[in-house]
Amino acid sequence: MADFKEISPNASATAKLTNWFENRLPTAFDMYKVHMSEYYAPKNFNFWYVFGSLAMLVLVIQIVTGIFLVMHYKPDAALAFGSVEYIMRDVPWGWLIRYMHSTGASAFFVVVYLHMFRGLLYGSYRKPRELVWIFGCAIFLCLMGEAFMGYLLPWGQMSYWGAQVIVNLFTAVPFVGPDLALLIRGDYVVGDATLNRFFSFHVIAVPLVLLGLVVAHLMALHDVGSNNPDGIEIKATKDDKGIPLDGIPFHPYYSVHDIFAVCVFLMVFSAVIFFAPEFGGYFLEYNNFIPADPLKTPLHIAPVWYFTPYYSMLRAITSEMVLVLIACVVGAAGFSVIKFKLPAILKAVIVGGAVVVVAMMLSIDAKFWGVVAMGGAVVILFFLPWLDKCPVKSIRYRPSWHKYLYGVFVIIFVILAYLGTQPPTPVGERLSQAGTLFYFGFFLLMPWWSRIGKAKPVPTRVNFTAH
């Protein structure tokens, strides 16, 4: 026991107990220092920076309420719907636990979308934080899977038919599609087999993956340090002790700050749970109060609100739209071959590749390309760190017109979301198509538009007013 820290026998009981642990688990104490009391975060965080901690809180809420729900829920097609009503009526306080879980699911997406938007605003995905962003996108993908599988569990009409439609999307994959869908379902249609495996994934498999990814996400962040609304690297200006001049220890400053944010969040969260748990049919869909009926599809199926932007994009890719996309592919290939100075071999590859892609687009159903678009819309986020070529990270110092572009992006995303909740109409279809083109254009053309305009001078120290 050579490395043990000695403590005076006159020390208090608490000090001795702390010392006992510190000698046997020094890592815990080091972790506390590295991640809390000596993690120097920029002092100019604004309210956009609370959503990360709130996301972690919602994850904990979902896990705890989930544990208690599983005590009473029955993952059996004949018993599932009844078991949820059992929880709502017969289990003491079961209704509260259920509403917390259903509201928590929607709250998770609200918080995560806002958290991602902060990243967009301040360039948090830029070097050296690309990996933080990539882990985050992986979390987003897992979260969508987790929510999708969780939604099947109440075994209502919306649960059943939503799952049926989305799993059937996989049949669009060329050659392996129908077998793939069969493998996912475990049966010819969504049924008891599907319910049981989705239950297993939703309760244990995906949550474990999510927890692992969250740990990786935070470790990657803490290793390089947090970004801030001004987009400047605070580690560039340190004092003589090696502490960033614009940094403050996370604990206690951001712990108390986050406690306040948590209280405000809990007020909104509780207001929904206690006064409007259905939230106009967006958080608890009305059709889901009808037990699943494999023989009768409801008139109007829509995914839950947080999937609707991507659902709009899926529906927008009709055979007509595929022709538009072919034109885009041809145009992009032609433009890059003509405009850029590239070695001949690379030009040949681009042209060849374009020919192959166009051939595929002409021969494979629009249904498949809809799936590609829907998936691509999420996958493209992974590439953001390499698409953004603006010399400046934060929106504060970018050319002013970038602000309007981001505003339009948000509006279009919201419009796509709304359109996804509604039944398809001719006008809606055109709008979704335009919205989808804008969404992909925003990202794919970013290497070009992010270079346009004159950035404002970036300060060396953060903007902070004492309060």
């Binding site: 009503e85 406690i259 209280c263 809990l266 207001a271 206690f274 009305y286 009808i290 309060h467």
Partner: protein, 252 residues
């Protein structure tokens, strides 16, 4: 920039408006008597007498009716018809297979029907049920002899016909937007029921309020607890705010 935004918003408006009622008339607003114990008890009685013959309310326990002011003895005397015990759930009197034979479909369970029938832009499930139970009319061309304005070609007969009597809708031909339209104008009573129109509406209001209560019996408790939680959280947020300020005053 502004023009694009305005066009987009207008397009949204058109879509919302174009989303008309798919089959069935617009719904009347149901009276909310979920805080009126007498109305709820009357509704429970009507439900047990007229609905439980064919429909079940499989997630609703009889003894939960204590929440609307009935004693166990009253429940046993007035609402339990079969060999059910007061702690049992409300099963239908009919055998589901027989029901399917007679009506073509198994009468759906009604426990949460007031929640499932809500529709964005049209009204709550209670509004639908209130309208539905008051828009039945005689139609000999239909297998049950009845049809319904809120649910055209419904497979359910008019369970409350003895109370409302028999009637038919009266239509008027109206020229609208340059073409003729068949517009519903009112009712023609063929044979009277045991209740007047006002009494019937009142009874249906009670029944629908009962069904609304039954779809979420814990609603009033939920709201009450909610008030307490909000008050506590307001207090807690204030403390957290001051705690935050106490630390951040040191940050320059």
């Amino acid at each position: 920039m502004k023009k694009i935004l305005i066009t987009l918003l207008m397009a949204l408006g058109f879509i919302a408006g174009a989303h008309a009622n798919s089959g069935g008339i617009a719904w009347d607003k149901a009276p909310d008597r979920t805080n009126d114990l007498a109305a709820l008890q009357n509704g429970a009685k009507l439900f047990a007498n007229y609905c439980l013959n064919c429909h079940s309310a499989a997630f609703m326990r009889f003894n939960r009716l204590k929440d609307i002011g009935l004693t166990e003895q009253q429940i046993k005397d007035n609402l339990l018809f079969t060999n059910a015990k007061v702690g049992d759930t409300m099963k239908a009197a009919i055998d589901p297979k027989q029901a399917k034979d007679w009506f073509g479909a198994n009468p759906p369970d009604l426990t949460v029907i007031a929640r499932s029938r809500s529709a964005q832009g049209q009204g709550t499930g209670a509004d639908y049920l209130y309208t539905y139970l008051r828009t039945y009319f005689v139609d000999d061309t239909k297998p049950t002899g009845w049809d319904n304005l809120a649910f055209p070609s419904v497979g359910m007969p008019h369970a409350l016909w003895e109370l409302q009597g028999k009637r038919v809708p009266v239509y008027e031909t109206v020229t609208e937007h340059g073409h003729e339209a068949h517009v519903f104008k009112g009712w023609e009573q063929l044979t009277p029921g045991t209740m007047t129109a006002e009494q019937y509406d009142q009874a249906v209001g009670d029944l629908v309020s009962y069904m609304q209560w039954m779809s979420e019996p814990v609603k009033n408790t939920r709201i009450r607890v909610g008030f307490g939680v909000m008050v506590f959280l307001l207090f807690m947020t204030f403390i957290a705010w001051r705690l935050n300020a106490a630390y951040w005053k040191d940050v320059k």
